[in-house]
């Protein structure tokens, strides 16, 4: 589900990687490619990669961030990043959880 422009990404919902997105780890983070939209996103550090890779197995995005070592002061940056990924359909909400 795409993020509506201007609304804050909901860290307390359950999220997952879109099934048609592939992750390729890189030295500095990771490359995400969406086969349907042909969009390419770069995660610019390993922590964000850990967050995104663990979304499916964590009960909420906030939990995924905490588990990946994101400090409270850093949370807004990660929320913003996840919002960008949701807006481009790289990640979507988990339903029926």
């Amino acid at each position: 589900m795409a993020e509506r422009a201007g609304t804050l990404f909901d860290l307390d919902r359950a999220w997952r990687l879109h099934p048609h997105v592939s992750i390729r780890p890189e030295r500095f983070g990771a490359l995400l490619y969406h086969f349907d939209t042909r969009r390419l996103s770069f995660l610019k550090n390993k922590t964000l990669l850990a967050v995104v890779a663990s979304l499916e197995s964590q009960r909420s995005a906030r939990a995924a961030c905490t588990a990946a070592g994101v400090a409270a002061a850093e949370m807004p940056a990660y929320r913003s990043a996840l919002g960008t990924l949701a807006a481009s359909a790289m990640i979507c909400e988990r339903t029926g959880q």
């Binding site: 201007g6 804050l8 390419l40 996103s41 770069f42 995660l43 807004p76 913003s80 919002g83 960008t84």
Partner: protein, 50 residues
Amino acid sequence: MADTPAAAAEPAGQTLPAEEAPDATVLVEDLLVEDLLVEEVSIDGMCGVY
């Protein structure tokens, strides 16, 4: 995320909150692209491909 050099250059509009505020809006600006954790690139936007 609090003050960054780019924030000063933003046009009028809401900036990223210094702390979480559930009713604040997030404005993602191109000017902040260097400070964002995610950057999108066009698959056509690399030189050296047909």
